[in-house]
Amino acid sequence: MGYLGYLRFAMERLASAILTLLGVSILVFTAIHLIPGSYEAVMLGPQAPEAARERLREKYGLDDPLPQQYMRWLLAFLGGDMGIALCRSQQSIGQQACENADQAPIIAEFARRAPATIQLAFMAAAIANLVGIPLGILAGLSAGSRTVRGSSRAISALGMGIPSFVLGTLFVYVFSVHDLGLTVGGYVPLSEDPEANLRAMVLPAITLSIFGTALFARTTRDAVLTVLAEPFIMAAVARGESPRQIVRRHVLRNAAIPVVTVSAVNMGYLLGGAAIAELLFSVPGFGWYVLAAIHKRDYAVVQAGVLVAAVAFVAVNLLADLAYAIIDPRTIRRGRG
């Protein structure tokens, strides 16, 4: 099978990703409509006259059947029109004031916040990959040693067990009290002042990376151990290959699949916006914005936010799927069943 087989495999994966996203969009749309309180009640308040409500319903077609409303929403979404936010989000969640005069298109709000979230996601993912994977390889290759086995298990359990708000709070405390060169809060866009930006982004990135680091370390370790038990490793030993050659030629590539999988899931999760870290370190990102919208019952933003996060998640996983087929050519055949 050559490039055609690969192309076909890629098309199949793309189709399945689109189906997944359609499913998510239906789910989100339905969920929002299940929430008590109609749109006009939220917009106009409980005391609004019936005529005003009627006008609003008419304007937005709220009396149309739900499937029709769904189609309208989806088509608008695809055209980049995600609707209007009820209020321009303030920098803090507690603030309830919401002036209609400040209404802004949701897509513009998302676009403003995306750079911070994307930068944070890439930094956290980079730290997690660069630390977690080598640790896992090391732990897998020296699994015979009791000390390594014990300590790697303890470290990964700790890393996966510690909630990001605990670690984040700890960082906030330590770095606020002592001047250690990194700032807590004080986000500046990368384009304005790269140095100040990095200073502010390192702590939230580390906070977010801990879980991924532990996850990658454990996944990589298990994958390496699984590969080491494969007959072709024994065959390589029997052919006189050195441990270094065996690791470089056979172990790394064969152990990559599960690592790429968790790496993609982690990246998708990070791109969806890591609300807690953004909140703790005052990074004006996507996750924080959607979280604030939930507090303010700004359902249009929530609806669009969930779908955007889902698109990011599915897209990253699609990329991972396409990568598998390059790493392990058997994937294409398996995918076809």
Partner: protein, 331 residues
């Protein structure tokens, strides 16, 4: 003939949760250069352990307790790690049971050969190696991944990897048991053509007595971690001396008369926890006498072969000519 491989009283144990398990209990075997030896026995007789011991590729939970493996005058246990690696690389060729899983699934065939030959993947020597093992359309095979090959093609590739550096000893552990019966003979023909071409020595570890009878010069029968009878194939197949060999030949499919049934050996092979102080076959032997239960038999030469049986002389004089598989052995 000059001896290439001497296995002397080799003893190997596996660490298990219920204590050490002795897989080889003082097995000895002498193999001359250029011979083809079939090593037969039931599962658990120590065949695979013996194969792995020669290359010192036993798993980590196995330990070499005693004895020696001497290849061309040097003990393999005396080699340093790096000496051992070049020994494996240049002198040994292993062929495993399942060819597809013995190949790295993520690497095209040509790269696997290129690594072994230490050449670029475009080197013409790769094609000639594939050609040598009877593969057709070598260009295409070279560019394939292992899962795109049939079992027979994959085993040819594994053989090509094994012989690429011209080893003096080929060790094939059940090389055909995962293949279709139609492919089996082709692979065996290929394997046994190699010693004739290159002068290599071939050890075939198998439970398939027919292929041993058909292709091997000599047979070594293993039981309870020991080689209990070893000699020329035609002699042993036509007239087994050890009661176990006789029972094994009778239990082989194809040995029964038409309409008759296969004579299974009663009882089970022993599980050794330490050195056996009796004949390991004593509990299942129908010729058993007192001494078999108290003393380990010592290998002795009887009727042109080595036999470890207290009653070997007797057995040789009364054993009926066995008209089993070996009857039409032509050598």
């Amino acid at each position: 003939m000059r001896s290439l491989l001497q296995i002397e009283q080799i003893t190997v144990e596996y660490a298990t949760e219920s204590g050490p398990l002795r897989a080889l209990d003082g097995a000895s075997l002498n193999v001359a250069a250029g011979e083809t030896v079939g090593i037969v026995g039931e599962s658990g007789s120590g065949k695979s352990t013996l194969a792995l011991t020669i290359g010192r590729i036993l798993p980590a939970y196995a330990s070499h307790v005693a004895g020696d493996v001497i290849f061309d005058g040097y003990s393999v246990f005396a080699h340093s790690t790096s000496e051992m690696r070049s020994f494996r690389r240049d002198e040994l060729g292993f062929i495993f049971q399942n060819p597809v899983s013995a190949l790295d699934p993520t690497m095209r065939v040509k790269y696997q050969l290129a690594h072994i030959l230490d050449v670029k993947s475009s080197d013409p020597s790769i094609m000639s190696q594939l050609d040598r093992v009877g593969l057709k359309d070598v260009e295409r095979v070279a560019n394939r991944f292992p899962h795109e090959l049939s079992g027979g093609m994959a085993q040819r590739v594994v053989i090509a990897l094994a012989i690429a550096r011209g080893p003096r000893l080929l060790i094939a552990d059940e090389p055909t048991s995962s293949l279709d019966s139609t492919i089996r003979d082709q692979i065996l023909e290929l394997l046994f053509a190699l010693p004739a071409q290159t002068g290599a020595t071939l050890l075939l570890f198998t439970h398939d007595l027919r292929s041993v009878a058909k292709y091997c010069d000599r047979v070594a029968v293993m039981y309870g971690g020991n080689v209990i009878e070893h000699g020329p194939a035609n002699k042993i197949f036509s007239r087994p001396v050890h009661p176990y060999t006789e029972a094994l030949l009778k239990a082989a499919p194809g040995a029964e008369e038409i309409g008759g049934k296969i004579e299974a050996i009663p009882g089970r092979p022993p599980i050794l926890r330490g050195r056996s102080e009796q004949c390991p076959f004593a509990p299942r032997c129908r010729w058993v006498v007192d001494i078999c239960r108290h003393q380990r038999p010592v290998a002795q030469t009887v009727d042109g072969r080595l036999v470890s049986c207290h009653r070997a002389e007797e057995m040789a004089s009364v054993a009926p000519a066995c008209q089993i598989i070996g009857a039409n052995h032509a050598s």
